[in-house]
Symmetry: C2
Subunit: 308 residues, 2 copies
């Protein structure tokens, strides 16, 4: 990876605009693939209101594109598509790759690295977990309200020089970034919270405080978490039981939080059902782990997703 | 039971007003216990719009009371309370009983007969299943939109002369009524539909057509029904597997139906959680029947019930 790599942001929604915007703000060479917001951003630029400091990127400083085929080859492709668009990987990403391009997915849930490794090669792939509250209020109008940390790891490998370099670039661009020795462990640890609270929040249309607002809700969240931990372990991931009670305790004090999946469901948008619940369930099936609550949660979410 | 028994209706909501009203319309001696609607009905009577024929009961023809203690002893007490009020049985029913009083519960779900038999004696108790769509639009304003059949059986016994007499009285009062040889079987057969569709409808805020609107929803409803059937069997009730597919088929063609539990949840009223899900689950626990989906459904409904 060159010292000043060329970045391509594929999927310039809230997350892509925020992290790509931070890199651009700090002088990096960033190229944004945009679809619905292309015209607006090309004319008016990006406006980012952030609890870590507001900034604007004027239209003339920005490189925005409507199609990957118009974009330069990138040294680092950052994938921030909704996982429901993963079927478009080949079309959107292939044109951006040279021999040494690294592909970083900052997407939710499980299976994204595998789905990138298939067509493009596992050696390219880095996965990142974004702990961030950021919303797109309108075209080019991004609101970053909390957190911001990225934890990043090589796919199926330990820490590498390029991982260190990427982390360094983010850290020096106002994006706190940590390296993960074990990406899979990071993914599964995040699922401990995401499966129950994205899942139940979207299935029932309830914020997290409601779900843990009665003993039966806490018990159910805990059972789902136990199944996630058991499933992760069955796949060879080291999982610490202590994370379960930590996640319960954290949720009990976090107030009325609307998970991204609840928001998607309520807005009538496609929910990230496969990445967050479907893929973990597949792993459970493969290793014959009993997951009655995850299974029923998946059924409930299929019902929710089928309601237009 | 005398040839012209004196009836007391305990819980004069939609169901109590409709069935009690039909009896009064046909010249029977009916006494209504009312609480919230007492003043209005005492002054303005009852107005019943019914697909089987509208009728009015003028205030001067009606016997309405605010307290059981003001009412005459009854030959037949008809209990149409919401099951969430079963804790008030002693207070509301005891004053109405003479030695030979029969107590008929037309309430939903499981456990009502047992809860009446405890304090008042099993020999008094008859249970009835009301297959009826009837709503209270306002005080004294009842709308009967569909069905109306009552299936009635002795609690823990076969058909009796008094059961025949009661059935006859209903049938000659524009209320189709059938006798059940086996009340428990009738209750459990009704639960095959009620547990999944009241339960999921209330948990997710969805009409029945949405729940069976995707293959995963049908599969989930079927799994819940299988658990209900297995639980009924474990309690010695003869259950026919064919009911499962019959109930699925019926629901697929019944259109967007809002179950009573969904309506209660959406109106912020207490839901009949214990009678419809809690009691069947207790039976399953007692006989060590595996009911993972019923158990999770119960947890979801506890969450829903705790949301004010």
């Amino acid at each position: 990876m060159p010292r000043k790599p060329c970045f391509a942001i594929v999927g310039a929604g809230a997350i892509g605009c925020y992290y790509g915007g931070r890199l651009a703000e700090h002088g990096h060479d960033v190229h944004f693939l945009m679809r619905s917001d292309y015209e607006h951003v090309r004319q008016h630029g990006l406006s980012i209101k952030s609890h870590a400091g507001d900034f604007e990127l004027a239209a003339q400083q920005l490189h925005v594109y409507k199609s990957s085929r118009e974009m330069p080859k990138a040294d680092v492709v950052i994938v921030t598509l909704k996982t429901t668009a993963n079927g478009q990987f080949a079309e959107l990403i292939a044109p951006l790759l040279h021999e040494g391009t690294t592909v970083v997915t900052l997407q939710n849930g499980l299976g994204n690295e595998q789905q990138l490794a298939g067509p493009f090669g596992a050696e390219r792939v880095i996965g990142g977990l974004a702990f961030v509250c950021v919303n797109r209020m309108g075209p080019g109008d991004i609101r970053h309200t909390d957190y911001g940390l990225i934890k990043m790891g090589e796919f199926g490998r330990g820490i590498s020089p390029r991982l260190g370099q990427l982390c360094e670039i983010f850290n020096s661009s106002k994006v706190p970034c940590q390296m993960l020795e074990d990406l899979a462990q990071g993914r599964w640890e995040k699922l401990i919270w995401n499966v129950p609270f994205n899942g139940l929040g979207a299935a029932m249309g309830l914020t997290t405080d409601r779900i843990v607002g009665c003993p039966e809700g806490i018990a159910l969240a805990r059972e789902i978490m136990q199944e996630v931990v058991a499933t992760g372990r069955s796949a060879g991931v080291e999982m610490d039981d202590a994370h379960i009670e930590q996640n319960i305790a954290r949720t009990l004090t976090m107030g009325p939080y609307r998970s991204s999946m609840q928001i998607d469901a309520e807005m009538g948008r496609e929910i990230e059902l496969d990445a967050i619940i479907g893929q973990p369930l597949e792993v459970a099936k493969e290793h014959a782990v009993a997951t009655p609550t995850m299974r029923m949660l998946h059924q409930l979410l299929c019902i929710r997703a089928s309601v237009k």
